[in-house]
C-alpha cells in the first residue's frame, strides 16, 4: 500500500504537505490521501448553520450595503441608532429654528457622525442649509416636513396591522418595535422617513426621538464609536441614563470607552455621574485604564471626581492606581481637593497610598497640604506608614511638615515613631528646624523622646541645639553626650 516509508518524511517534506506545496510523491501516499480527504471541499451538510449566521450578521450590520460611505465610518447598531438621533436632533433644531436647540445640538454636527457635515465644526444650521448641498441632500434636505406626524401615522398603521394600541407612549414604542413595522414602512408615504435616516432599521429610533419616547442606547458596540460621536453622545445623555450605560459595560469595554474620550468630554461625563455610579465606574476600571482616565482629567475635573467619591470608592481607586499614576493624580490635585481626598481616606487606605508614593511625589503631596491636612495625615497614619512618610521626605519637606505641626500633634507623631525612624528623622532635620521642633515639644514628651534615643544618635545631634534644652531634659541625657556639650 505504502510506496514511501514513513521514516522518509523529513521536516521539509512535512512542511510541503502542510502548506500545500507538495508535489506528487512528497510523502507517503496514504498520508497524502488522508490529508487531502481532511481538506476536501466543504459539503452542504457542514453549512447547516448558514442561515442563522447570516441572520446574526444582519442584526449586527443594519446598514444597507449601498450606504458604503457611512458604513465605513460607522458600523455598530448603536452607532446607527445614535446617527439617527444626531440627524433627528439637527432636524429638530432646524424645524423649530430655536437658537437654544441649535446650540445644544451644534456639537453633534461637527463630528464624523453626521453625514451632512463631515469634519466641519459648523453650527447645525449651516450644514443643513446648503453649505454642502451634495452631502446633505440625503439627510437634512430630504427631511419630511412633518416627521413627527409621519411617525404617528406609521405607528397607527402598524396598530391597524395588528399590534397594540398606539395612543400613549408605551403603545407608540410597542408599535415602533413591532415586526410588522417594516411591512408598513414599505408604503410609499413613508419613503421620505426611510430615506431621511438612511434605512428602515433606523426609523424606530428616529421616531422614538421625535416623539420623545424614552429609549436607551445599547452598550454593545459603544466602544467602537468614533471618539467625537461617543463624547457628544455621552455628554448629552441625562445623568441617570449615562450612569446605567457606563455601569452596564464590562471592565474592558468601559476602559476602552473612557480612554477614547477627549479630556473635556471625559471630565464632563465623569462629573455628571452621581456618586454611586461614579464609584462603580472607577472601581470597575482595570488599573491601567483607571490611571489613564484619571491622569488625563484636568485638575478641576479630577478634584471634583475624587471628592465626589464615597470613602470606600476613593480608597479603592487610589489603592488600585499604579504608583506613577497615583503620584501624578495626587500632585495634580489642587491643595483643597488634595486635603479633602486624603482626609476622606480611611487609615489603611491612607497608609497604602502614602507608602506607595515615590519620594518626590510624597514630598510634593505633603508640602502642598495645608497644615490641618498635614496634621490629619500624620496623626492618622499607623506607625509603619508614618515611619515611611517621615523617613522618605527629604530634609526641607520634613522640616516644613514637622515645624508646622502644633505642639500636641508633634508630640503624638514623634512619640509614635519607632526608635530607628525617630533617629533618622531627628538627624535628618537641619539644625534650625530641629531646634524649633525640640522647642515646640512639651518637656515631658521631649524627655521621653530623647531618653529613648541611643547615645549614637544623640551624639549626632548638633550640640548647639542640645545646649539650648531645658536643664530638666539635659539632666536625663547620658553623660557621654553631656560631656560634649559646651555647658559641660
Amino acid at each position: 500500500m505504502s510506496t514511501n516509508h514513513s521514516r522518509s518524511i523529513n521536516r521539509k517534506a512535512a512542511e510541503q504537505l502542510l502548506d500545500g506545496s507538495a508535489g506528487p510523491g512528497a510523502g507517503p501516499d496514504q498520508l497524502t490521501r488522508v490529508l487531502a480527504a481532511a481538506a476536501a471541499p466543504g459539503r452542504e451538510s457542514e453549512r447547516a448553520g448558514e442561515q442563522m449566521a447570516v441572520a446574526a450578521f444582519q442584526t449586527h450590520h443594519l446598514a444597507p450595503a449601498t450606504t458604503s460611505r457611512r458604513g465605513k465610518m460607522i458600523k455598530s447598531p448603536l452607532a446607527q441608532l445614535l446617527t439617527a438621533k444626531v440627524i433627528a436632533a439637527s432636524l429638530a433644531a432646524l424645524a423649530t429654528g430655536g437658537v437654544a436647540l441649535a446650540a445644544s445640538t451644534g456639537a453633534f454636527t461637527g463630528s464624523g457622525s453626521a453625514p451632512a457635515s463631515p469634519g466641519a465644526s459648523q453650527p447645525a444650521g449651516s450644514a443643513a442649509t446648503g453649505a454642502q448641498p451634495g452631502a446633505s441632500a440625503s439627510s437634512a434636505d430630504g427631511a419630511p416636513a412633518d416627521a413627527p406626524g409621519l411617525c404617528r401615522s406609521l405607528a397607527s398603521q402598524v396598530e391597524s396591522a395588528g399590534a397594540g394600541t398606539a395612543g400613549d407612549p408605551a403603545g407608540l414604542e410597542q408599535a415602533l418595535a413591532s415586526p410588522t413595522l417594516t411591512t408598513v414602512l414599505s408604503g410609499s408615504q413613508f419613503s421620505s422617513l426611510t430615506s431621511t435616516v438612511q434605512g428602515s432599521m433606523n426609523v424606530p429610533d428616529y421616531c422614538a426621538l421625535l416623539l420623545d419616547l424614552p429609549t436607551l442606547p445599547q452598550p454593545d458596540g459603544l466602544a467602537q464609536l468614533p471618539a467625537s460621536v461617543l463624547s457628544t453622545t455621552l455628554t448629552q445623555l441625562p445623568a441617570g441614563d449615562l450612569s446605567s450605560v457606563l455601569t452596564s459595560l464590562p471592565a474592558s469595554g468601559l476602559a476602552q470607552v473612557l480612554t477614547a474620550l477627549p479630556a473635556s468630554g471625559l471630565s464632563q461625563v465623569l462629573t455628571a455621574l452621581p456618586a454611586p455610579g461614579l464609584s462603580q465606574v472607577l472601581t470597575t476600571l482595570p488599573a491601567p485604564g483607571l490611571s489613564s482616565v484619571l491622569t488625563s482629567l484636568p485638575a478641576s475635573g479630577l478634584s471634583q471626581v475624587l471628592t465626589t467619591l464615597p470613602a470606600s470608592g476613593l480608597s479603592g481607586v487610589l489603592t488600585t492606581l499604579p504608583a506613577s499614576g497615583l503620584s501624578q493624580v495626587l500632585t495634580a490635585l489642587p491643595a483643597p481637593g488634595l486635603s479633602q481626598v486624603l482626609t476622606a481616606l480611611p487609615a489603611p487606605g491612607l497608609s497604602q497610598v502614602m507608602t506607595r508614593l515615590p519620594a518626590s511625589g510624597l514630598s510634593q503631596v505633603m508640602t502642598r497640604l495645608p497644615a490641618s491636612g498635614q496634621s490629619h495625615v500624620l496623626t492618622t497614619l499607623p506607625a509603619s506608614g508614618l515611619s515611611h512618610v517621615l523617613t522618605t521626605l527629604p530634609a526641607p519637606g520634613l522640616s516644613q511638615v514637622l515645624t508646622a505641626l502644633p505642639s500636641s500633634k508633634l508630640s503624638q507623631v514623634l512619640t509614635a515613631l519607632p526608635t530607628p525612624a525617630l533617629s533618622q528623622v531627628l538627624t535628618t532635620l537641619p539644625s534650625a528646624a530641629l531646634s524649633q521642633v525640640l522647642t515646640i515639644l512639651p518637656s515631658a514628651a521631649l524627655s521621653q523622646i530623647l531618653a529613648g534615643l541611643p547615645a549614637s544618635t544623640l551624639s549626632q545631634l548638633p550640640s548647639s541645639v542640645l545646649s539650648q534644652l531645658p536643664s530638666s531634659v539635659l539632666s536625663q541625657l547620658p553623660s557621654s553626650v553631656l560631656s560634649q556639650l559646651p555647658l559641660g
Partner: protein, 234 residues
C-alpha cells in the same frame, strides 16, 4: 509546476495557470484550496450579507473540522457560537482573508475551550480504526466521490486522535489553510513550535497508516469501504 494554492506568494504565476495546475490530476496537494475572499471581507464589513455568506461558506467547513479535534461531537454548537461572535465583531476585524480565517479559528478555539471548561473535561477524541484509513481511495478514483464525505470525516477523526497540540497544528495548517505563523497566533505559540507539532503529527499518522497497511487484510477486496457514519464494516 508545483501545486500551489491561491495564497501562493508567487504572484508572478498567472491565475489561470495556477488554476490549471490545481485541477491537474497529478496535483494531489493535501491542503484545502483557499480562494481569495479578501474583497468579501471588506464588503461584509460594510454590511453586505452576500459577502458574509461567501465567507461563511468557505470558512465554516474548515472551522467545523478543526473544532472536531477540539470538542468532538459538539463542534457544530461551538462553531455556531463562534459565528455569532464573528457576526458581532466583524466590524472590528482588520486584515485579509488569511487573517480572517485565523481570526475565526481563534474565536472558535476560545469558544471551544470555554465549552470544555463548562463541561469540565477535555472531549475524548472518537477512536477511529486506523485500518479504515489505510485504504482510502485516491481522490481521482471515480468510485471515490460517493465516499468523499465519509473519507473526510474519517480523516479528520484520525487526525483528532493525535495529541491535542499536534492535531490542532495539523488541522489549522492543512484544513484551515494557515501558515505556521498564523497557526501559532491561533494557538498562542511560536511558529517553530507549531511546525514541530505538525511534523510530529504527520510522522505519527504516517506510522500508523503504514502499520495498518502492513497488517494482514482479512477483508475481501471491495469490502474495505466505509458505511455511513464512517464506521468500518466488520
Amino acid at each position: 509546476m508545483m501545486c500551489r494554492m491561491d495564497r501562493s506568494v508567487d504572484t508572478s504565476v498567472p491565475v489561470a495557470d495556477d488554476d490549471a495546475a490545481r485541477r491537474s490530476p497529478q496535483c494531489q496537494s493535501p491542503q484545502a484550496s483557499v480562494p481569495d475572499l479578501t474583497s468579501a471581507v471588506a464588503e461584509a464589513q460594510r454590511g453586505d450579507p452576500d459577502a458574509f455568506r461567501a465567507l461563511y461558506r468557505d470558512t465554516q467547513p474548515r472551522l467545523l473540522r478543526y473544532l472536531r479535534a477540539l470538542v468532538g461531537d459538539d463542534a457544530e454548537d461551538v462553531a455556531s457560537e463562534a459565528w455569532l461572535q464573528v457576526a458581532r465583531d466583524l466590524h472590528g476585524f482588520r486584515g485579509d482573508y488569511d487573517g480572517f480565517r485565523g481570526w475565526v479559528a481563534t474565536i472558535g478555539r476560545h469558544r471551544g475551550l470555554d465549552h470544555l471548561r463548562r463541561a469540565g473535561r477535555r472531549a475524548p477524541a472518537t477512536p477511529v480504526p486506523v485500518e479504515e484509513l489505510a485504504d482510502l481511495t485516491a481522490p481521482d478514483d471515480t468510485a471515490a466521490s460517493a465516499l468523499d464525505a465519509i473519507a473526510t470525516d474519517a480523516a479528520v477523526r484520525l487526525i483528532a486522535t493525535l495529541p491535542a497540540d499536534q492535531a490542532e497544528a495539523v488541522l489549522l495548517r492543512v484544513v484551515v489553510g494557515l501558515d505556521a505563523e498564523a497557526a501559532g497566533q491561533v494557538l498562542g505559540k511560536r511558529a517553530g513550535a507549531v511546525r514541530t507539532a505538525a511534523y510530529r503529527g504527520l510522522r505519527t499518522l504516517a506510522r500508523r497508516l503504514e502499520q495498518a497497511g502492513e497488517q494482514p487484510q482479512s477483508r475481501a477486496p471491495g469490502t474495505g469501504t466505509l458505511r455511513p457514519g464512517g464506521r468500518l464494516r466488520e
